[in-house]
């Protein structure tokens, strides 16, 4: 018998023996499947986890941007509320100041009003009061329609000094109320002079010195 014939003979005998065993092999089938199934579950779970990790990785920048925007929005809201609070507080303080302004300030206010009235009468269409804030009155004087220069001559109450100035274009007059005239600000490239109010009130050294400062 040739070797390959022996191989065939043995092969056929082995298959015969396997067939003779019949279904006895099936007994272990459930056992084998019960060993396979958990592993498959585990692998499926791992595959899902891997996929989830990839998705998370891809979503990370979007999530980061979303969270950053939300945080910034929250900060903006906080700052906004604080600003509103500060503004409200400021307005309250301002109101209180206006209500409790000293007598001198009232006098000054009346004076300024008087000045305004006089100036309005003098050049009604060229004077415009822009601002009044507690201790400062700013008056803008503009050239008249013909382009001529306008003279600004602020009115001063009795005892006060009179100063006037000429300017080529707009004249900005700023009246500042201060306790000490020397502390009055002087801006660059501007000529300024002061009008002292209450000069006639020599007896009151303790009284705050009122000054009117005019800038050009």
């Amino acid at each position: 018998m040739e070797p390959h014939e022996l191989d065939k003979y043995i092969g056929s005998k082995l298959r015969e023996a396997e067939n003779a065993r019949g279904n006895s092999e099936i007994n272990g089938m459930n056992r084998v499947w019960s060993a396979i199934e958990p592993q498959l579950e585990k692998r499926t779970f791992l595959a899902w986890m891997k996929m989830a990790a990839i998705i998370l990785l891809l979503l990370m920048p979007s999530v980061y941007l979303y969270l950053r925007n939300r945080e910034q929005g929250r900060q903006i809201r906080t700052l906004n509320s604080r600003l509103t609070e500060i503004n409200r507080d400021y307005m309250q303080r301002l109101q209180t100041l206006t209500l409790n302004q000293p007598e001198k300030v009232v006098v000054l206010y009346d004076t300024v009003k008087l000045i305004q009235t006089i100036e309005k009468k003098a050049i009604p269409e060229t004077v415009e009061i822009v601002k009044y804030v507690t201790d400062t009155v700013i008056i803008y004087q503009q050239p008249d329609r013909a382009g001529n220069l306008v003279e600004s001559e602020p009115a001063v109450p009795s005892g006060g000094e009179i100063n006037s100035s000429w300017q080529e274009s707009t004249v900005k007059t700023e009246y500042i109320l201060s306790k000490d005239a020397s502390s009055a600000r002087k801006k660059k490239n501007s000529r300024s002079f002061q009008i002292s109010l209450g000069a006639g009130n020599k007896s009151a050294e303790t009284e705050p010195e009122l000054a009117l400062k005019t800038k050009l």
Binding site: M1, I10, A17, G28, W33, I36
Partner: protein, 181 residues
């Protein structure tokens, strides 16, 4: 169920299809495993590992007609058996020189041997002989392929096959003259 449909469902990790495929192929695959691993518990363990590999890699399988799946699975199972043997039951290349030069002629097949007796001889054969014999005679692998699969030389594969054949013949002779292996 259509085999291709079943494969597609297995590719989608459908548990029911996986179980059906397992049940349909269990018997032929188990028999294949038992040829390499005599111990039934070893065979079941290797089979479980092989099926896990099958279901994990079925996405790479290309259907090429009826029977192509079984062939693919058989390859995985054989590789798993070899892996199992090398891990837990190292395949010792038998160097029985007496068997190599033994008289291999055996023409006395007048008494047809019992299939169970042949199975018993194969089961008791050293693992190295049995593995090479199964790969060459039963699965049809060449000595070159066997050498690669078992990490042995082609010549070693040839000598192992020769010894396996002589071993079988010796046992058959013994059975013929004495009635037992």
């Amino acid at each position: 169920m259509n085999e291709q449909l079943l494969i597609n469902q297995c590719k989608q990790h459908q548990r029911r299809a996986q179980k059906q495929l397992f049940e349909e192929l269990y018997v032929p695959v188990y028999r294949l495993t038992r040829r390499y691993l005599v111990n039934s518990f070893d065979a079941e363990e290797a089979l479980a590992n092989a099926f896990i590999r099958v279901f994990s890699n079925i996405g790479q399988f290309e259907y090429r007609g009826e029977g192509s799946l079984l062939k693919w699975i058989n390859t995985i199972v054989i590789n798993e058996c070899i892996r199992f043997l090398s891990k837990y039951r190292p395949v010792i290349v038998e160097e029985d020189m007496a068997l190599l030069f033994a008289e291999s002629g055996f023409d006395d097949f007048s008494s047809d041997f019992d299939a169970e007796a042949i199975q018993e001889i194969i089961d008791h054969m050293p693992a190295g002989y049995r593995t090479v014999f199964n790969l060459f005679a039963m699965e049809g692998y060449s000595h070159q392929q066997i050498g690669i699969m078992l990490s042995i030389s082609e010549g070693t594969s040839r000598s192992q096959l020769c010894k396996a054949r002589n071993y079988i013949i010796e046992k058959l002779k013994h059975r013929t003259y004495y009635g037992t292996a």
